[in-house]
């Protein structure tokens, strides 16, 4: 069964709403909601066009940040320490295999990779935070945390082109 690209389907639905539905709606509530749905269809269509590039870029950034964090952390003395646990978590996420070399990889697979890497960043931030409370002067912990924060900043800036990195005020 042939289907046009999903983005084009959404844009088609948006046009149908704009041209045939909204002008015929007299009820103000229905009209407002239809206009919002219309806007959302456009947003989603726009995201679908970019979703592959977006996921690939953000997954690569996340992977790099996790690797930088791992590199910053010195190997732990004991296998059972919190630091060893953190290193193992990050290493496990990085070692998960995804068919990243396949050009026809699905968006779902890219998104699944993003979930794994994002989950590892979340966990690493929380564990680093605990470790920093115990060892506030440990430069390697601060370096690892900063590697993860860099990717958060990059992604926030990407979501708001109006925010220049220079605008971010370092007030901590």
């Amino acid at each position: 069964m042939y289907l046009p690209p999903l983005a084009e389907i959404l844009e088609g639905l948006q046009r149908a709403l704009q041209r045939s539905v909204i002008p015929a709606l007299d009820d103000p509530y229905a009209r407002t909601i239809a206009m919002r749905v219309c806007g959302e269809l456009g947003t989603l269509a726009g995201r679908l066009v970019d979703v592959r590039r977006w996921c690939e870029l953000e997954n690569a950034e996340a992977r790099l940040a996790l690797q930088s964090a791992l590199d910053a952390l010195a190997p732990a003395d004991g296998e059972a320490s919190a630091l060893a646990d953190l290193r193992a978590t990050v290493a496990a996420a990085l070692a998960r295999e995804f068919p990243s070399d396949q050009p026809d990889r699905s968006e779902q697979s890219l998104a699944a990779e993003g979930q794994v890497l994002g989950g590892a960043i979340e966990t690493a931030i929380l564990r680093l935070h605990e470790l920093q409370r115990l060892q506030p002067a440990d430069a390697s912990l601060a370096q690892a945390r900063e590697a993860l924060r860099a990717v958060i900043r990059a992604q926030a800036v990407r979501r708001d082109p109006g925010l220049d990195a220079a605008q971010i005020q370092h007030r901590n």
Binding site: D27, P28, Y29, T32, I33, R36, V37, G39, E40, L41, T43, L44, R47, G114, Q115, G118, G119, I121, E122, I125, L126, H129, L148, R149, V151, I152, R153, Q155, A156, V157, R159, D160, G162, L163, Q167, I168, Q169, H170, R171, N172
Partner: protein, 338 residues
Amino acid sequence: MGSATSAWFDVRRLEEWLTGRLNDGRGVNVLTVERITGGQSAETYRLRTLFAGPDGAQERGLVLRRDPEGGLVERDIAREFGVMRALADSPIPLPRVYALELDPGWLGRPFFVDEALPGTADRNLFNAPAFAAHRPLLGAQFVDLLAKMHRLDVDKWNLAFLGSPGEGRLPALREVDLWEDLFRRRQREPNSLLVEAFLWMRANAPLAPRVSLVHGEYRPGNFLYDGPRLIAVLDWEYAHLGDPNEDLGWAFMKQFRVGDCESGFFAREEFLERYEAGAGWAVDREAVRFWEVFSNMKVVCIGITGQDAFCRRTMDFAPFAAGPTMNVYAEIVRLTGL
């Protein structure tokens, strides 16, 4: 006169309820039902009704607020009704509430009815050319009312049922706990920015200058105005006792700013100076920054819960399918310096 029909609920059942609860068994006709666009946490309808009486029928405007099928955040309609009832004779103008119905047997979900007031509630009022002339007067009322609300004696106005938030840093930490819990229960994907933001908020929770009634969503669009006159403050569903600076943080969010005017009214310092004069205490500017971060986090969480509700099909409101507004993330980064 014939009754209205509605795609949203059974108008006959509503007439039966209005007759019993608001008109001593005499008849009530619902002439028109108009759904009002607004927040998605509650459904709001404007009703034109005819109340039968010994001296003939009298037309009355009412507003019906009903729980949504699946809202953005869990809400407690009895709490919202309770706050509005407690404030009925207070110096804060708001619609007078008439009756609450928790039995879903009437209209499918709990609801309450309050009076319909004249005026407009327009979040985009700043774009209206007519607004420019009213800006100073409306702004003054907007700020003065906020100060007045924060000065209310919560015991005198029977607001203790909202629960004590504690003192010191506890009001801030309690709010952070509530929203982090909501985020954890409803997140559909990892969100490391919010994780960092919650850690930042715990480390930077400010001391509350006092415990006040907090509206929770004090902004343009949540009050009725008619020309230069602010008629009533609306949408009390997030009201609670807490740190009064929380409302300043919400009113100062970037999305409500017009040029450098907070909520479209005054530059920040002018706003704060006027508020301080009305409240009678000095505002800690750093504390306000905390509450700005909190407010932006809250917007992200509302977007996350909206997307979750959409994906679970407990809410059909498509504008939440794509999740939180993207530029709010950048605002959190800018404010926290992460």
